[in-house]
């Protein structure tokens, strides 16, 4: 481990320690916001672990999240909460394994298509199973988890995601992953078992989504399939990850924080138009800042270096934005 890496680890640890102090501020509003931010940090960062380097876009976060939530809601009267969290992780891993083995052995768009309807598929199957067993479709989650505890749990989970992401990044697995993302044919030719690498990463990423769903289940006192498997969750996760930037581990964090705040504002001011505005902001991100906030920051830093060398004053990213805004004209 180099000195630079030690420094990075120390800074990360300090930031997490600072974030852990939030519940002592005594403000319920900020704590609620902090829980959202921590939750989406876990979801968006774990999404990026797999989809960032490989470009295989997963649209199934809601499926894994919903499974975790449902396992807690359905199992609470039989098993203790911590056991259910473990089961949720295992169930998420199992589903990801099935999906991965079916679609990731083949390159191409099959994976995206498969994940697109996955949440809806699981929702249909859960609703059907409940119907067959004669249970009602809604479930009450009769357990209280104090907000500060939930916040710390999510924060700890986020720390684990970052640690695992950091370890993967400096391992052979992460190296293989980047080669796959750059050119899958090359990856195959240098002897990487591409299918295995992709499946492993997808499983890791999905476990986190399931555990997150399980952890936050007590916040919803009533759970039913249409809530647990809402497609909007996937959409929000992808949007935040893209906004932050998916080619750095800490990228999604830079998307989660501003977007959660923006979202708070939009849903308060325009409650009827949330879907539309969500779609519009998504397109803006895809077209205007395809490399996310991280890309902007990096360009700005590089632009700064170039400026000191006597180069032009307009930052390159600003030019790129202006160019992209004139979309449609040849």
């Amino acid at each position: 481990m180099t000195g630079r890496e030690m420094r990075q680890l120390a800074i990360a640890a300090l930031l997490f320690a600072a974030a852990a102090l939030l519940p002592f501020s005594g403000s319920g509003y900020w704590l609620t916001l902090g829980i959202s931010i921590a939750m989406f940090t876990v979801l968006a960062t774990s999404w990026t672990l797999f989809s960032g380097p490989t470009n295989y876009i997963s649209l199934a976060t809601a499926a894994f999240f919903g499974i975790g939530m449902y396992i807690v809601a359905a199992g609470l009267d039989r098993l203790p909460f911590p056991v259910l969290i473990v089961i949720a992780g295992i169930a998420g891993a199992a589903l990801a394994l099935v999906v991965g083995l079916a679609t990731l052995r083949i390159s191409g768009v099959y994976f995206v298509i498969f994940t697109l309807g996955l949440a809806e598929l699981v929702r249909q199957i859960v609703a059907w199973a409940q119907n067959v067993m004669g249970a009602s479709s809604g479930l009450y989650v009769l357990i209280t988890l104090p907000d500060p505890t939930l916040y710390w749990l999510l924060l700890a989970l986020a720390a684990i995601v970052f640690l695992i992401g950091w370890l993967i990044g400096r391992s052979r697995l992460g190296f293989a992953l980047r080669i796959i993302g750059n050119d899958e044919v090359v990856a195959v030719h240098v002897g990487i078992n591409t299918a295995r690498v992709k499946v492993i990463l997808f499983v890791i990423s999905s476990i986190f989504a399931s555990i997150t769903g399980a952890l936050v289940a007590p916040r919803w006192s009533y759970v039913e399939p249409s809530i647990a498997f809402s497609p909007f969750l996937t959409f929000e996760v992808v949007i935040m990850a893209l906004l932050g930037g998916v080619h750095r581990l800490w990228g999604p964090l830079l998307g989660v924080i501003p977007f959660t705040l923006l979202w708070e504002f939009i849903s308060a001011k325009f409650p009827a138009q949330t879907t539309l505005l969500l779609g519009v902001s998504f397109l803006l991100i895809v077209y205007v800042i395809p490399r996310g906030v991280v890309g902007l920051v990096e360009d700005l830093l590089r632009g700064g270096a170039a400026r000191s060398a006597g180069a032009e004053r307009i930052p390159r990213w600003l030019k790129a934005v202006l160019q992209r805004l004139r979309i449609g004209h040849a």
Partner: protein
Amino acid sequence: MSVLIVGLLLGGTYALMAMGLQLQYGVARVMNLANGEVIVAGAFATFWLFAGSHLSPFVSIFGIVPAAFVVNWAVYRILILPLVRRAKNQGQLDVDSILATFGLSFIFIGILLSVFGGEMLTYSYLARPFVILGEPYALNRIAAFLGSAILCASLYVWLHWTRAGLSLRAVSVNSSAAALVSINVERASAMAFALGGAVSAAGGSLLSMFLTFDASQGVIFTLKALVIVILGGVSDIRGAIIASFILGMTETLVATFIDPGLTLAAAYMLFIIMLLVRPEGLFGRRPS
């Protein structure tokens, strides 16, 4: 027997919406995840014209198809073309267009929600029994099947016996070679994308005669159309039609003997079987 016929009728109607997606992915090479929302929009427009002005779906379809063509053409020129131009290869274009159309699908849902609200919409048109081989079937399903058959046939004829159709097929086979024989690839792609959207909207319009729709349902139709296109092979219309019948039958069997709520599971089952057995689709060529 009656299950088979209902499955055939449903599959025939699916064929139309799948052909729309096939034009968009096979010719314009754009993976359009907002296709289902176009189908739902077609269904909603039909409902709206039927409830408001008592227009028969077979009349309103003549207005819906050109409208959908224009909207989809604009979507291609404004949103997709910049992505096509900036993409270095097909993989890049797939990633970009998946993201862009995924965002677009939520914009469409938002618009549909604000115009029509979130309820399930349905209307009653030709809801009378019609007897085939001694068993009654809903007349609206038969009418939708016939409408779809006519449109599919005209599309097939247009693609195979006109010069414009030939240039679309040429782009689908090899777009850079098509450019060499002076086909305007961008225009042909825009044409294919717009036509695909119009065909999908027509499919939605016909499906609305016997299915119930709500604004958030598009993803189910996107997925069904994608499964059909992949099952049939990306660039073969015959494959898509056969795959539509297979999906229609499977769905009807699942709905009749297991549960009507599991139709998507039927589509996924076909998808998994195909991925395991023949990933290139029924009529696709194995990459050498």
